[in-house]
Symmetry: C2
Subunit: 204 residues, 2 copies
DNA sequence: GCCGCAGTCTATCGCGGAATAGAATCGTGC
DNA sequence: GCACGATTCTATTCCGCGATAGACTGCGGC
């Protein structure tokens, strides 16, 4: 098949997956029907099976797409230059920034990956742990250099940071004024400086 | 019906709802079958319908139980004595403390309330907003008194705090060493003092 | 302008799961 | 020990949804 068709075909596939992501995000994997997905696309339910062998395979695709980019971006930040605080800020920005194009994918990844078949679920579990490790590493580095407090628990703190970010998927796009930039900026300030007054100068 | 029977009956009902909570938490509302719930209890699937009229009604019960206590506890903290930082610490503790007896209920409330019928869903939505407001109020009070930074966005910060807490339901009970006390303490320190070194004294 | 295949359709199957009806049993108070 | 309500059981219905089979269609390339 010529490259022109092939490109259109690829694009159509992406549309199908995006429709699945949208529907899964709205109703949950089990709550969504393949009919719902077909409705979004304006095609018949059975036509979907030209694109995937099963509903579960569609979920796999959505989850893979929904997790893509996180580890790569975070690794780049970790290896890049800057203080630990700057790196943490960039980690958070990178994370939130990825919602811009694919919130639905992220939502499905977060809430529905538990419905994946064992193999994929474990694979994605390893991926997540790798991602968490990067946050932990940056935290540990900051603690070692004296930049961060020494009494942090790097593991719990990493989970707290990631969890706080992810929780925003629940209201991102709904809560007025909560743009990607503001969320990232507010979260970073909260995490780095805390809530108490008199901290503005410290991280400036 | 004598009080003895009545008490046993009430207790049995609670067992049924707890089983539903457990199963809903594990597999999700749509992913769970009434058979699964019956299996946990060692009874037949149809016997469940003595206790609720529908699967959806069971979800309602679990969600109501799962949200009970949050607003009341938070209101008590808000109205009680102490600095804003102390109050925020107590808000977080109160929140996390409620998992001790009913994590499954909290998990179902967080992840499955979207499957509730409209009326209940809206009711629970109002309840949540009321809860968030209390956090906002404490934050605003702290900002007004100069205790907290003036450049916080109280709404986003409140959502961030609550979201961070709730995200821990994903790994509470799994992550080794993450007890209710440690989670609450670590989260509070992170939120109040931030991550940077040199903050230990400030909140002491 | 015809061929071929990507893409969509119609039609249908089969299962799993929610829910109902009504019988059986258990246990508690008298 | 009997009666009666509370609880659980057996048996069955009904339908929604995932999936398969096979026909149709229209566009891109020659």
């Amino acid at each position: 098949m010529p490259p022109a068709s092939r490109r259109r075909s690829k694009r159509r596939s992406a549309e199908i997956v995006a429709a699945a992501a949208k529907v899964f995000a709205e109703r949950g994997y089990h709550g969504a029907t393949t009919q719902d997905i077909a409705d979004v696309l304006g095609i018949r339910q059975a036509s979907l099976y030209y694109y995937f062998p099963s509903k579960e395979a569609a979920l796999e695709q959505v989850c893979m797409d929904g997790s893509a980019g996180y580890v790569a971006g975070a690794l780049a930040v970790k290896r890049g230059p800057g203080s630990a605080a700057e790196k943490l800020a960039r980690l958070v920005s990178n994370h939130v920034e990825l919602w811009r194009t694919r919130v639905d994918f992220a939502r499905v990844f977060l809430r529905e990956r538990s419905n994946l078949p064992k193999a994929t679920r474990h694979r994605i579990g390893r991926y997540s742990r790798r991602y968490e490790r990067i946050f932990e590493d940056v935290l540990k580095a900051g603690m070692a250099s004296g930049e961060f407090r020494a009494d942090l628990d790097p593991r719990i703190t990493a989970l707290a940071v990631i969890g706080m970010c992810n929780s925003a998927t629940a209201w991102y796009g709904i809560e007025p004024g909560a743009t990607v930039e503001r969320i990232a900026a507010d979260f970073v300030r909260l995490l780095v400086d805390g809530i108490l007054a008199g901290a503005e100068r410290r991280s400036a």
